[in-house]
């Protein structure tokens, strides 16, 4: 900690000195606070609670890490990520559901009763395909207009989930989505599922880390900083952007498949535009172009909801709103004082 040039050194208890210490080591403090908070919460609330929370964290973590590849490393601010998440969830739900729809008399929808992992592969593939098509169209847009059309993708995806009743069963949703199964081992216990989700999170983070540290990742960073330069050096910017877009969409679909299987029920309300905006909030809050930041952001996001639940002046039904409000105000503050997010390496 340095004293002001020319002046007397401030005493250790001076609030300005303390504040500058926090500002200088913000990353350390963010890590410390969020991780301590998580551990304290897990200890206080007991294992059952921590297992559920951990699964939610793993799903949001996969989503935010994958979105960070697009937003943080490539510089495309996409608000439509939830669409790919939904494609993954719906693919798994439609293909694995064992519900007898004839009983409900809401139209004949065939049941396939596939195993989870086969359905997951199909879902990831479908999302990749959708991302390819969408990406070819969206590749022309950048900055503000990209944000607008990605809003559009989220809305189109949501409306498709809601209105293609022959496939998705509309607002009724799909029940009895299968849990994953490897041979005789069914992931029926919550703890088993948590392990699976965390393994997936680890894999996604590892792949993302490999991507961003490879030469491919360096080209992406160049595109973010200056697209023209990347072109001049002979890289096909379009192809790079498309590739990372598809990869990120496939990761999101993986998270979607896990989500559908975990809740065992999928309906369009999980894939509204708002969730997508909150996801962007997580990525920016955690830090642009930082995988660890994304993980931390997702953790903070999950903890925030549970933390707000224990505040005396927030009624239980309004926890979601309180969280949304906190995130919104946090976004404003970040944009004012720290446009790269808590652990970010790239200023928006």
């Amino acid at each position: 900690m340095k004293a002001e040039a020319g002046g007397r050194p401030r005493p250790a208890w001076d609030p300005r000195r303390l504040l500058s210490g926090v500002r200088g080591n913000l990353e350390l403090w963010a890590n410390l606070i969020i991780l301590t908070w998580a551990v304290a919460f897990a200890v206080w609330q007991g294992t059952g609670f921590a297992i559920g929370l951990g699964t939610v964290f793993a799903i949001w973590g996969i989503l935010s890490v994958s979105l960070n590849l697009v937003v943080g490393y490539t510089g495309l601010l996409s608000v439509g990520h939830i669409g790919f998440f939904g494609i993954g969830a719906y693919a798994v739900a439609v293909l694995t559901s064992t519900q007898d729809y004839e009983l409900l008399r809401t139209g004949a929808v065939p049941t396939y009763e596939w195993p989870f992992f086969a359905a997951l592969v199909v879902g990831v593939g479908l999302a990749g395909l959708a991302a390819l098509v969408v990406g070819v169209v969206f590749n022309r847009f950048r900055d503000d207009i990209f944000v607008l059309v990605s809003f559009g993708f989220a809305i189109i995806a949501f409306n498709s989930f809601l209105n293609l009743r022959g496939v998705t069963r509309g607002a009724f949703g799909i029940h009895e989505v299968a849990r994953p199964q490897i041979g005789p081992w069914v992931f029926d216990e919550e703890f088993d599922f948590l392990v699976l989700a965390l393994v997936c999170l680890l894999l996604v983070s590892l792949v993302s880390w490999l991507i961003v540290t490879s030469s491919f990742g360096r080209v992406l960073t160049t595109i973010r900083e200056d697209e023209r330069t990347a072109e001049v050096f002979g890289y096909r910017v379009t192809h790079y952007k498309l590739a990372v877009w598809v990869i990120s969409a496939m990761m999101a679909a993986l998270a979607g498949g896990l989500f559908g299987s975990w809740t065992r029920f999928v309906d369009p309300n999980s894939f509204i535009l708002l969730e997508s905006i909150l996801l962007v909030c997580i990525v920016i809050l955690g830090g642009l172009a930082s995988i660890w930041g994304s993980l931390l952001g997702a953790l903070a996001f999950v903890l925030l909801e549970e933390g707000l639940r224990f505040l005396p002046f927030v009624p239980d039904v309004h926890v979601g709103q309180a969280r949304q409000m906190t995130l919104g105000l946090m976004l404003v503050l970040l944009m004012l004082f720290r446009p790269q997010g808590l652990l970010g390496r790239y200023k928006l």
Partner: protein
């Protein structure tokens, strides 16, 4: 080595224009085919498109004027629409909605009152203080300004508290506004006729006429409970506009100085939108609420198609708003300043335009337009917390389709968007309306990226 690798196969300019022309032709052919199929039904869809398109055009106009001045997208805009609509609900819920779901929240009152007090203080500072501070004691001036703005805040608090007698509480304000407006108009008119000769007489006549009209307006408002509706519209639009102004002056102006790209502003305003939408749910709850019917729900029949009186009124409001904005931009010195700032902010600052004040006014106007659209669409259908985001997106699409930064483009784009949406759901089901508008947007941006009427 291919330098232009980002160009895809359809992106050549000529091909793009050809494809766009083909698209427009296809749309026109489709509409023509539909008209041939069933003229009366086509007329009906046309009427629906007109009434929806008028709201979109209102949104697009406000959006485009803000964007073409500061060159970033202000997403508070959607929240402003929601504030306008919910403001009417808030002001009317004790009275017209017979106390059902009556909402009253002291925090909201205090929040709006303090925003109004702050904005009044700022206005006084920018206008009177700057002129008078050379001649009078500054401490006295500051104290007087503080007292006046505190009084304005208290008055707002009173108005928001006694909403069941809106016409009585607001009558002094209405009287003052009418008096000032009349006096100003009379003064300007007579001054042009008389010239500089009889200035004192002109001032006297203007003052007397202003007082008379003001007193009459105040008395009329007090005696006529039917004016509460219109007062609530005006008040909630003004409040939303004041919040927009306060946001620019208090937040965006500082943020713009250090922002590296327009995306920073976009994300920050997205945060504002999130926070305000959440606050709306916290105060009003999440279910959709009705606003009272205004001119009766009985539709009027014109040439075999039916349209509600309120929708005709909406179209009228949109036309008036369009003409007003056009007049402001093309004929007044403020409009010249706005256009100058849009062209080059630094240079306008150098030639002596007070850019902060002008841009604040632009944000006020934009927010008022959004709130107006929110009120009108709220009366037309119902109000729900999501409406802010949806209206924002529709206004955004309409302004981009029309050509961002062009007022005519915004009007035409809004109308076109409404028409395409309504004709689109003729064959598809109504649920696909939002999809249609976004597909239109994406097609348009792919083939005709600068919009129908691009800014020169």
């Amino acid at each position: 080595m291919r330098l232009r690798s980002s160009r895809t196969f359809w992106s050549g300019d000529r091909r793009g224009r050809l494809l766009a022309a083909a698209l427009v032709t296809a749309v026109i052919a489709y509409v023509g085919w539909k008209i041939g199929e069933s003229p009366s039904q086509a007329l009906q869809f046309g009427f629906n498109g007109l009434s929806v398109g008028a709201i979109y055009a209102l949104l697009a106009m406000g959006f485009t004027i803000v964007y073409s001045t500061v060159w970033f997208f202000d997403l508070y805009y959607g929240a402003s629409a929601a504030i306008g609509a919910y403001g009417v609900f808030y002001l009317r819920s004790k009275d017209a909605l017979s106390g059902l779901h009556s909402v009253h929240n002291a925090y909201v009152n205090v929040l709006f009152a303090s925003v109004v007090a702050g904005v009044v203080a700022w206005i006084l500072y920018e206008t009177l203080y700057r002129r008078l501070s050379h001649r009078y004691n500054r401490e006295v001036l500051l104290a007087a300004g503080g007292i006046v703005s505190a009084a304005a805040g208290c008055y707002t608090l009173a108005v928001l508290h006694y909403t069941e007698n809106l016409n009585v509480v607001l009558s002094p304000a209405v009287g003052c506004a009418a008096a000032l407006a009349t006096a100003w108009l009379v003064f300007k008119g007579l001054e042009r006729v008389v010239g500089g000769a009889g200035r004192r007489i002109v001032v006297g006549v203007a003052a007397v006429m202003g007082l008379a009209v003001g007193a009459f307006a105040a008395l009329y408002v007090v005696g006529e409970p039917g004016t509460r509706l219109y007062l609530s519209w005006v008040l909630s639009c003004l409040l939303a506009g004041v919040v927009g102004l306060a946001l620019y002056r208090g937040l965006y102006a500082h943020m713009r100085e250090r922002a590296r790209s327009p995306l920073v502003m976009l994300v920050a305003t997205l945060g504002i939108l999130l926070a305000i939408s959440a606050a709306i749910v916290l105060v009003f709850g999440s279910p959709a609420r009705p606003l009272p019917d205004v001119f009766g729900s009985q539709p009027r029949e014109i040439w075999g198609g039916t349209i509600k009186d309120f929708n005709l009124f909406t179209v009228g409001v949109a036309i008036v708003a369009f003409l007003g904005l056009l007049f402001l931009l093309k004929r007044t010195s403020l409009g010249r300043a706005i256009r100058a700032i849009g062209d080059d902010e630094e240079v306008s600052k150098v030639v002596g335009i007070n850019t902060t004040v002008v841009i604040s006014i632009v944000f006020f106007i934009g927010a008022v337009y959004a709130a107006l659209a929110g009120v009108l669409s709220g009366h037309d259908t119902a109000i729900q917390p999501r409406m802010g985001l949806l209206l924002l997106l529709k206004g955004w699409i309409a302004s981009v389709v029309g050509g961002i930064g062009n007022l005519y483009g915004a009007a035409i784009g809004g109308l076109a968007l409404g028409m395409v949406e309504q004709f689109g759901i003729w064959d598809l089901a109504g649920e696909w309306r939002d999809v249609i508008s976004f597909v239109l947007l994406i097609l348009f941006l792919s083939f005709w990226p600068r919009g129908l009427l691009p800014r020169r």
